[in-house]
Symmetry: D2
Subunit: 424 residues, 4 copies
Amino acid sequence: MAHFMHTQAVEKNPPAPSVTAKLLERYCAVRAASEQLCEPLLDDDYCLQSMPDASPPKWHLAHVTWFFETFVLKPYRDGYSGFNPHFDVLFNSYYNGIGEQYPRPKRGLLTRPSVEQVMAWRRHVDAAMVQLLEAADDDALSTLAPLVELGLNHEQQHQELLLMDLKHGWSQNPLDPVYQPQRLPTATKVEPLKWCRFEADAEVAMGHVGSGFAFDNEGPAHLVRSDAFEMADRLITNGEYLAFVEDGGYQQALLWLADGWAQKDIVDRGHPLYWRKDSDGWTEFTLHGRQALDPNRPVLHLSYYEADAYATWAGARLPAESEWERWAGERSDTREDIAAHPVDTTPWCNAWVWTASPYVAYPGFKPAAGAVGEYNGKFMCNQMVLRGGCSISPPGHVRTTYRNFYYPHQQWPFTGLQLARDHG
Amino acid sequence: MAHFMHTQAVEKNPPAPSVTAKLLERYCAVRAASEQLCEPLLDDDYCLQSMPDASPPKWHLAHVTWFFETFVLKPYRDGYSGFNPHFDVLFNSYYNGIGEQYPRPKRGLLTRPSVEQVMAWRRHVDAAMVQLLEAADDDALSTLAPLVELGLNHEQQHQELLLMDLKHGWSQNPLDPVYQPQRLPTATKVEPLKWCRFEADAEVAMGHVGSGFAFDNEGPAHLVRSDAFEMADRLITNGEYLAFVEDGGYQQALLWLADGWAQKDIVDRGHPLYWRKDSDGWTEFTLHGRQALDPNRPVLHLSYYEADAYATWAGARLPAESEWERWAGERSDTREDIAAHPVDTTPWCNAWVWTASPYVAYPGFKPAAGAVGEYNGKFMCNQMVLRGGCSISPPGHVRTTYRNFYYPHQQWPFTGLQLARDHG
Amino acid sequence: MAHFMHTQAVEKNPPAPSVTAKLLERYCAVRAASEQLCEPLLDDDYCLQSMPDASPPKWHLAHVTWFFETFVLKPYRDGYSGFNPHFDVLFNSYYNGIGEQYPRPKRGLLTRPSVEQVMAWRRHVDAAMVQLLEAADDDALSTLAPLVELGLNHEQQHQELLLMDLKHGWSQNPLDPVYQPQRLPTATKVEPLKWCRFEADAEVAMGHVGSGFAFDNEGPAHLVRSDAFEMADRLITNGEYLAFVEDGGYQQALLWLADGWAQKDIVDRGHPLYWRKDSDGWTEFTLHGRQALDPNRPVLHLSYYEADAYATWAGARLPAESEWERWAGERSDTREDIAAHPVDTTPWCNAWVWTASPYVAYPGFKPAAGAVGEYNGKFMCNQMVLRGGCSISPPGHVRTTYRNFYYPHQQWPFTGLQLARDHG
Amino acid sequence: MAHFMHTQAVEKNPPAPSVTAKLLERYCAVRAASEQLCEPLLDDDYCLQSMPDASPPKWHLAHVTWFFETFVLKPYRDGYSGFNPHFDVLFNSYYNGIGEQYPRPKRGLLTRPSVEQVMAWRRHVDAAMVQLLEAADDDALSTLAPLVELGLNHEQQHQELLLMDLKHGWSQNPLDPVYQPQRLPTATKVEPLKWCRFEADAEVAMGHVGSGFAFDNEGPAHLVRSDAFEMADRLITNGEYLAFVEDGGYQQALLWLADGWAQKDIVDRGHPLYWRKDSDGWTEFTLHGRQALDPNRPVLHLSYYEADAYATWAGARLPAESEWERWAGERSDTREDIAAHPVDTTPWCNAWVWTASPYVAYPGFKPAAGAVGEYNGKFMCNQMVLRGGCSISPPGHVRTTYRNFYYPHQQWPFTGLQLARDHG
């Protein structure tokens, strides 16, 4: 299990006392952040599940807790027994190595345990985690720290999912619920797309190296060949995408992949997921409520098929993930906070970009042994890689090697569009 | 609209002052009862919807309020405008004459309006209703009273639905939530079935007459011919039905209607909806939680197909609704309270019994004009009549002419089984 | 099994020699008719199955042969063994009492046995049948004759089905295949609807009596009560139905049963199954190919929902089956031949009419013992009764007590529309 | 359109007279081969379509003819008009650039045009093609030849599809129809798997070069990096795969990709598509009829999910397509004839092997302009590359750069399994 992450942070030598302190601090911060995210929710909202792909807020809060209980407390804390044996099944997402799972499409039916009980469970697990870590000697810590770090990154992934899922659920409600009341500022007018040129290179480095945390699917680091190409310097905007819509892009079969054209719900809708054309113009549903469609904000919530069709229409293509990683490696975008909706098109952490790369293992990749090995490997089929992060991604998750992945028809992540093209 | 109900209670002559008082008292009692039914619920439970046929508790509380607002307040109270224009759509069940409806399978997504807002709406409508009724002169009352009476009977129907739906939703939860904590008493051992004999009669009266409230589908009263027959004196028990299960009843195609045998979910399950065979015997899920299967309690939650197959296996048949009404007419069962689960098999208000009669209009039936005419008539196709009432039916709904109706595959109402057979 | 049909034709006393001769003659005539019906087919057409409800011509030819082999030859002809043991399963339609069945939706996949082999099987069975009947003494004949008669009526039912199914299959083909090349003559202009008045009667006789063949579901004969009513003197025409279409009948929810309105394929289509609006007007697909829609021909291929919506729109209703039988009893319509498409609206054997009566057992009905009892009884749920026969019904099947039945959404039988209304 | 194929065979310089002669000879040979393949068919078989993925033999014969009519005769032969305007739609597979298509799942309903008419169309098109080619001067030929070559390769692809589809259709028939009557010889006992070792190489060449025909998706030729690896020297056998089955491989979630484990039809079946366990052992359905499962024949008809699960169980993995191409480049397998079922596991043209490579464009790939550009490019999503060819692939299609592609759940192609593993 020690191989699960490609990290060199935790070594077998005695850690400085501050390691425990830092880990505890981080543990408490991440756990608290999940709950802070839920502050705008009413009790009514915690069980909302609008499709099988999405989960209710309460389920997210419980599942990330199950992760610590299952992978840390049960194996490593003497005498720890589960809070409730039913929770082992109810809040197991997809770990067949652990046991049965409550059916995913029915998570919204779990009105019990109540929010209150889930919060009590969180407190119970937090107390046990703190005790475990405080009591851990260096040797124990060298085992525990990577698992805790994985659990924290996992919880952060669910923070993003929680907001995505909530947005999708609320979008079904004609009342247009608001997560954060705010009228979005008018975005600055974007400049015409500029292209960053990259020369052919037979030794482009890909994948995670170094001491920070990374998921197993970000390695092994390796070299790839790259032809010359050009990468757009920013995301495509609502305004640019609207031109495609208004040019009849959704009616021209020749622009679409065959599987995209067969996706009738998307093609017949004729515009991105959360857009609506009202009598007084286009609007989009956001976590700030329904807003007028600002032509200078990045377009969001595209399926891969829509992104690909746009690129074809625009005479360009989607980037390979190696191309994106090469481009991103020359930048130093960071972000301190999350934003419920992105306004800017330039830093690459505003919207995930679909790459043209199917999600497959890097050469030499081996999943970790045991149930934790189900984290990434078993999904390496039928999905496409997205890169860069979005405005609701936790800040620490924004790195050049991060590989997100979704099915090409999915639209509820904060997915945008960045063009590439051949060169030379 | 005055013809909507077959009632003679409300006449055009000036009503005694007590008519208003009685109506108000009844209005307040019925409205309060809906909310009392929800007392065991947690906030988490109000949005639970486990299938398209069922609705969340919050939706029921809102919809019955919508009914008064739509059919009484808006047309008859000067200056009344809706509480929230979105609610016109969100809480319209199926009245095309009124306007659009929010899709039924998505009612569980309506985390907003909150329970609190729905309760505020109830208060708002109640206040307006009280003012309207208090101010009504005799003439106005003669118009309003039948509509209010209809609205109250409608709300009572939803009280039963609310509990049925909640039970179905909770049954999906491995935690076995409990509505009313109580271990059910051991039921008295039933006697062998006795048969009540009825002679052939060319003039059997059917349908509602008299001064009490009845739904439009209970009339016009009319005569039918009846052959001689015999009716069982009580409901079939869990123990009797278990004998059918254990005799392989679910594996013998010749016992089943073709459409029943094609209902794979029922046939493959091999037992009634809420039963489960555990290592230490059969249990059934009830509103008192999961309970050992008592062989002397009435069997519940059968589809029509299961009821019919049992009757065939038992060498009997299901009664025609006219037979049941004739039999019931000789009894005087009443009930003061509801019970979350029936224990007794004799009074006919413990479980709805499937009749062999498809739900069609009585000769001469005409739906009321306008949207309120959608109440019953448009459902007179593909459903079967059930008679008698069940332990969670509001007491006033237990009458010999009441016609309930469900599709033959449905099992979540409190449906039981009473046998009949030919005679002579 | 002797009770299977309500017939008094065959008695236990020695039959005159002519009984055998007549039966043989009839056997040969019916069997030959099935094959004559197929003469316009190409080899390519014999496996055509366009939906699970329909069967390929080859399957019909084989199944009716299976019926004689299974219910007559195997039990009654010494030493007869099946032609091919696989055929027992392949051509069993729905007789669970006999054994397994090849899945109905896959019948079109049975390219083998070839047409040639099926024809060889027919010859084989015919030879054995002739030998069996010729050798039968009076006693044997008293057992065999009702079964043979049932088999022949069964085969005639499949003659109608074969044409219905073929029409549906060909209707999917843009080449508009033609069964019988002929331009239909212009129909005579119909007179405005006249109403035949019937007085209330407490003793209306229903059901089959007498010596002719009838299916078990046509009995027992019994009395019913009838209110006064009026019956239209002819079928509704294309022209009358077109007025409903053009009046927006398919867009007005209030005209439709709830289940009909939910049948999106029908409602969204906006016209009867085989109609099409071309640039130069309405056409309908017929067994004579695509023809201009003649306003004076009977409207055909309506679902129950469409028939009911039309009746509501027209201020009338569909007749009860007892009303229809009473009306038909006063007429003496007969027909010598079948016609691939009906032109006339008056004799009641031009199009099946949907009645408002669900298909249920008559009082005292009991299915025959054994597998043959599956013929009718197990379908007595969810279907509606149709009466009268259509232009492709074999002549002998046109009788006042005949009860045909289909699901309310089905449109591929030759279903038409005759109105009734209350009176008095 | 000249860029459609990566071929240098046809140059703008005057071709020798033999070019026309050779092309005509090849045209006639390929066209005749399609019809010879159908010789074992009965008339009954020509319309058989057992699933939307498959097409009837008649449709294949017609569609390949449509291809020549659409892409060669209509644009290049003066005065040529289509044989039947309906055929433009009926036999267009998926070319949106050409126009509408008859729905794929309904191809089996096209009993008309008859086989005879389709054969007449073939004769008509063949005559026109011969005339066109014979009259073509060098310049015309330089345009026509690549298109004709494409059409012939296209027709050969459909020859393989025709047999695959026929096999699937017949496999649904309990009569086990036989394409080629023959008891398969007992295969030679295979040796234990040997591994061929390949060293790491930063400049592995991939893709088609040279003068022969290749599809557009086989280029552009380019270099890739390859780590060291080992490739199994033969296909996996039935016997080896049976060990996986008997070890409970289909019951162990941890061996499967998540999407594979969710494919209930495959996982619940528990063995490859055409296998069956009878009382006297395993059999497999083949084009020679049902045969005993020979442990030394190659395993066939695996989905990608099954192939991947087997590889995981065996401690190996599937090869990348670049690895396979490198391995195959060192061999010189050829084949003169097709075989209805493969017996040998060593030449790589016995069964397609699933690679771990998703089907995506090679760097710099651009689809051809116009409708013919829909040939390959629009399918580059959600599918996996298969390599090598199978026993029913036309001989000329067996080359190291050929990229076949199917969805990971598909099993009806002749798909086998060849293992690879990391090294060093």
